[in-house]
């Protein structure tokens, strides 16, 4: 899951420039709210989940590690 998410961000938003990009990189410094909406759309389709609107806060998308936790929560319906 980690690689899939990282690859999407690299390809869509970073022109495949992976320098300094890790699972801890603060995405809020790279992405704007529209980019996050694209990311949410991708996550919902890729992992067949629905992310509830009350999870739509940048803290939940701060870095790839946090996104993984969010996807797990959505999968478990918690």
């Amino acid at each position: 899951m980690q690689e899939v998410i990282k690859n999407f961000i690299l390809e869509k938003f970073l022109d495949n420039d992976s320098r300094g990009f890790s699972s801890d990189t603060d995405l809020s410094k790279i992405l704007d709210s529209m980019a996050f909406l694209k990311l949410i759309d991708f996550l919902e389709k890729e992992f067949a989940i629905e992310i509830p609107l009350n999870e739509f806060y940048v803290e939940n998308f701060e870095n790839v590690n946090k996104i993984i936790l969010l996807v797990e929560r959505a999968k478990n319906g918690t």
Binding site: S28, D32, S33, M34, P52, L53, Y57, E59
Partner: protein
């Protein structure tokens, strides 16, 4: 009997919607709060239709002041409301507008729907919702005193409130959320003798059973009954707000109201029921919707709806929006205006309490905000009433309003998502909201000038609507939407697109190809 004096930080008059939301925020943040109400819950209230801005502000307050329950009324609604309040509230998928002329047949080509892709909004059954909000305030530690009419308020170096049972309540500050009959407005003679609003209307309203769905328009996305329906006619409108419009619903009532320009429709001393029927007789297609409907409570008939206050804050007190003034329920601006103001009041009061400084200057921006909100609501409603003389003019003015709310929602949505990391900056000198688009004031004011010129017989309706559409077409539309929502900007600006519902892929395809609604070509 001697009563013990209790010292509170903030006393709030009125445990309705605004009073309870402010009380829970202050109590949660550690203030000692008392809410005093002359009556008790549950009780009938109108103002039922929410808009995305309402939900966004609820979620903003929930997050900012750490009150998870409020998110249920915010972006977690309608499911959140169903979970905690029950199934007494309705859903709202669209603003629906039908247009009528007394001497002509109804033309369904003049129907307009404006809605949202993301989620449904709500028709709040206020007696249950307000009761629940007061309970949340109590759960966070606010002291609620119901059935406690206040007989006097003295404000010196503190606030001393005397109730009719002899009880004395002391507080550092008092907020009046008691609406039209505001105690502080009366005590300090704050009401303008001549209300500021230019708009002039009166209202007749009740809850009904047996209201039928309005004729389906096959060309539009959503059945009327799944939204807030507005029947518009020259100098008046009827609202139809069903609560029983989803599968889980347990409440088959519908809120119904008639608002009339009191200069065009002077009060002839008919009863509410008689006056409602007299208007229905002039619009047979609408009368059919009410053929089997009966009021479940007596119709309430108001005098002039508009009132305003020359000051909304003073030494150790402030008024909530509906204690300060009111214009008209059109465009459902009440909830979002109240919540936006409550946010600013709460923020200011918490700082004042922390520093024990209640000097007037700290609160002046609240007064400015309330005047601004009332003025904008007045202007947008006033021009809407004028525009109903001609469908093209209404079609254009409706888009000025829709562009304003749409872009504000988009900005607030981005701010809600990004929080402190948002690049959003409050717009300098907004006309309606800190979150509006930078260009909105000039679009609004330019278009308003043409509507007023039309009213003053300086230009024809056609000239005015042509001017409006030119300005709308040139508006720098900054609203950001996901890639899959194509052509929304075009749809909002195009006179031949009546289905502004954001959510059907076939619509988006048509919008992207810049094709008007097929039934209008």
């Amino acid at each position: 009997m001697e009563h013990k004096q209790i010292q509170f930080d903030v006393a709030i008059l009125g445990s309705g919607f605004g009073g309870s939301v402010l009380a829970m925020i202050l109590a949660k943040q550690g203030a000692k709060v008392v809410i005093i109400d002359a009556k008790s819950h549950p009780r009938f209230a109108i103002g039922e239709s929410t808009v995305p801005l309402t939900s966004q502000f609820f979620s903003l307050l929930s997050r900012k002041y750490e009150i998870p329950e409020l998110a249920n009324f915010g972006l977690n609604s309608p499911a959140g409301i169903q979970k905690i309040v029950g199934n007494c509230c309705g859903i709202k998928r669209i603003f629906g507008f039908t247009y009528h002329q007394f001497d002509k047949n109804y033309n369904s080509n003049n129907d307009i729907q404006f809605g949202n892709v993301w989620r449904d909004e709500n028709h709040l059954f206020r007696q249950e919702v307000d009761t629940h909000l007061a309970k949340i305030a109590v759960n966070y530690g606010a002291v609620l005193k119901e059935d406690t009419p206040v007989i006097s308020v003295e404000i010196n170096e503190q606030v001393k409130i005397t109730a009719n049972n002899g009880e004395e309540i002391c507080a550092k500050y008092i907020v009046d959320g008691s609406g039209y009959r505001s105690l502080l407005a009366e005590k300090f003679t704050l009401r303008d003798a001549t209300p500021k609003p230019k708009h002039h209307s009166r209202c007749i309203f009740t809850h009904m059973q047996g209201v039928l769905p309005f004729e389906k328009n096959e060309n539009l996305s959503i059945p009327w009954c799944q939204g807030t329906l507005h029947h518009l006619f020259e100098s008046g409108w009827i609202w139809v707000i069903p609560f029983g419009n989803h599968p889980q619903a347990t409440n088959n009532l519908t809120s119904v109201g008639l608002t009339l320009d009191s200069k065009k429709f002077p009060d002839l001393n008919l009863s509410g029921e008689e006056e409602f029927q007299s208007i229905l007789q002039k619009i047979p297609i609408v009368a059919r919707q009410f053929a089997k409907a009966t009021a479940v409570r007596p119709w309430i008939k108001t005098g002039r709806l508009q009132y305003s206050s020359h000051a909304t804050v003073g030494h150790r007190y402030c008024l909530l929006p509906h204690a300060a003034g009111f214009v008209d329920a059109l465009f459902s601006r009440g909830f979002s205006s109240t919540l936006e103001t409550i946010d600013v009041i709460a923020e200011t009061l918490l700082e004042s309490l922390a520093e024990d400084d209640f000097s007037m200057q700290r609160f002046e921006h609240i007064d400015a905000l309330q005047h601004k909100i009332l003025d904008f609501t007045d202007r947008i409603v006033h021009c809407a009433f004028i525009s109903w003389a001609n469908f093209d003019l209404w079609n254009a003015w409706m888009r000025v309003w829709a562009i304003g709310v749409g872009t504000t929602e988009s900005n607030l949505g981005s701010y809600l998502f990004m929080g402190k990391r948002s690049k959003w900056q409050p717009v300098h000198d907004p006309i309606t909201s800190r979150f509006e688009d930078p260009g909105f004031r000039s679009l609004f004011e330019d278009c308003e000038t043409f509507i007023i010129d039309f009213k003053n017989n300086k230009i024809s309706a056609t000239e005015a609507s042509t001017q409006l559409f030119q300005r709308i077409a040139n508006y720098d539309f900054q609203m950001t939407l996901p890639e899959q929502v194509c052509g929304h900007e075009w749809a909002m600006k195009n006179a031949l697109c009546r289905d502004l519902f954001l959510g059907k892929p076939d619509l988006h395809k048509r919008w992207k190809a810049k094709q008007p609604d097929p039934h209008l070509v």
